[in-house]
């Protein structure tokens, strides 16, 4: 399967995306901004900046059907060392405690290990959003678990289901078996078992449905993965699929777009709206531009700043910005809420 960009698909144009998402009347939902205003949350403002989420590139060894990044082997955009140096300088002059590395497969960036080592020297907590299969995809990645362990990296990995058919339907043929192999390698060196080696899994629904209760799903995943595969992990994060890129394409092609958007809007939770991740996170694109979140990044909605680039990072100015929202934001405020760290309520 090729990326939407490679296919020259209409959704590879962010303006087309935004025209679809912005037309709330045609979708049959209230404008997200009005829902925020009802809870006195509009304009949405940041709280304290805790997390710098860095997208190290769109290159990936997988082509998942729901990918909001539209990542894949045919995507060549990756972060340069120069941009990483700007990120490091930003960390040095700020009190941001957590760096969340994502992609694509961040490990495919040739400067990934260099970057992790430098962040590690700054004593910041590092999260790597590892797709698991990268570890077993090529001998040059087989030692990744040891590298993660050396830097006490918190690994966060997608596993949409504890059955192979449901996982492979979303992430590609054979992904479940490779993921089990990678999880066993991580378990063997202490991940998911030792208190300082956290291995968290991410559950994204494998269709046009919202995630269920996080605690209940975590219990079921723990039971199934242990009973059938002797695999242990720490937390399960339930993340709602947002209608962007390939998941939007799936919704439109399958005829589920309006009903899914209505389900998201009907499940709007003002408490979840208070705790959305864009209030304590800034997202850095592969080319250094800044966004309120990874989803806005994929829609090319740069954050509100004179120079929205990591080279010009100004914590004080950014703390006063208005966070940009659109109707995809219903995905983070539905039900128990959704963020890169799972449910928010």
């Amino acid at each position: 399967m090729q990326s939407l960009l490679k296919q020259h698909h209409k959704l590879s144009n962010t303006e087309v995306h935004l025209s679809i998402l912005s037309d709330y009347a045609a979708i049959g939902i209230p404008d997200f901004k009005e829902k925020l205003a009802e809870a006195s949350l509009f304009p949405l403002k940041p709280t304290h900046l805790d997390i710098l989420q860095v997208n190290m590139g769109k290159m990936c060894n997988q082509v998942c059907k729901h990918c909001h990044v539209d990542a894949g082997p045919d995507r060549k955009e990756i972060m340069t060392r120069e941009t990483m140096e700007h990120c490091l300088r930003t960390l040095e002059k700020s009190d941001i405690q957590t760096v969340d590395l994502t992609g694509g497969a961040p490990e495919m960036n040739p400067d990934f290990r260099w970057f992790v080592e430098r962040i590690s020297e700054l004593n910041r907590q590092i999260i790597v959003r590892c797709n698991l299969t990268i570890i077993v995809s090529n001998p040059k990645y087989h030692d990744l678990p040891e590298f993660y362990k050396e830097h006490k990296i918190n690994i966060v990995s997608s596993l949409p289901h504890f059955t192979s058919n449901r996982t492979d339907a979303q992430r590609g043929e054979g992904v479940f078996d490779k993921s089990m192999r990678a999880l066993k390698m991580l378990n063997e060196i202490g991940y998911g078992r030792d208190s300082d080696l956290k291995l968290d899994l991410v559950y994204n629904p494998t269709g046009a449905i919202l995630p269920g209760d996080q605690v209940s799903l975590e219990n079921e995943f723990k039971r199934r993965l242990w009973d059938r595969h002797n695999i242990a992990f720490n937390n399960l994060f339930t993340i709602t699929n947002l209608p962007i890129n390939r998941f939007l394409d799936y919704l439109l092609v399958s005829g589920n777009f309006e009903s899914y958007m209505n389900e998201l809007a009907n499940a709007y939770n003002p408490v979840a709206a208070q705790g959305v991740m864009c209030r304590n996170t800034i997202s850095v694109g592969w080319d250094g531009f800044l966004y309120d979140c990874d989803f806005n990044q994929m829609l090319d909605m740069k954050l509100e700043a004179d120079k929205p680039h990591i080279a010009d990072f100004d914590t004080k100015q950014l703390s006063k910005r208005e966070i940009k929202v659109n109707n995809h934001c219903y995905g983070c405020t539905a039900g128990a809420g959704s963020s890169c760290g799972g449910a928010t309520t």
Binding site: F162, G207, I209, D213, S216, E220, N262
Partner: protein, 111 residues
């Protein structure tokens, strides 16, 4: 839209039953929400029971709703179909156990 006895859109209007009788409607929905909370049975177990019952009573709204909720709770296809077989087994058994009544009647009537 083609007119049918059942319309998918009506499922979303379920809450409107309180318009004609608020007190009883509210009590029902409170009770409903309490029933599906985690208790001695997990939410997951409860929704699989509900899925089986939905098929036994052949309510299309309940089937749509319980299928969606089963998926949300991470149930797989095999579990969901087994739940329906449980419902089918009890329905089938309920039919067949009445066969004994028929047999008793036959004994009474025939020489």
């Amino acid at each position: 839209m083609k007119e049918t006895y059942y319309n998918r859109e009506d499922l979303g209007k379920f809450g409107e039953i309180t318009k004609f009788q608020k007190e009883l409607g509210d009590k029902f929905f409170d009770y409903y929400a309490s029933v599906f909370k985690e208790g001695a049975l997990t939410k997951r177990e409860k929704i699989l029971i509900a899925l089986g019952v939905a098929h036994a009573i052949q309510c299309p709204y309940c089937i749509d709703s319980c299928t969606s909720d089963s998926l949300k709770q991470g149930c797989d296809e095999e579990e969901m179909m087994e739940a329906i077989h449980v419902a089918g087994a009890i329905r089938g058994g309920a039919t067949l156990i009445h066969g004994v009544q028929m047999m008793n009647q036959v004994k009474d009537k025939l020489m």
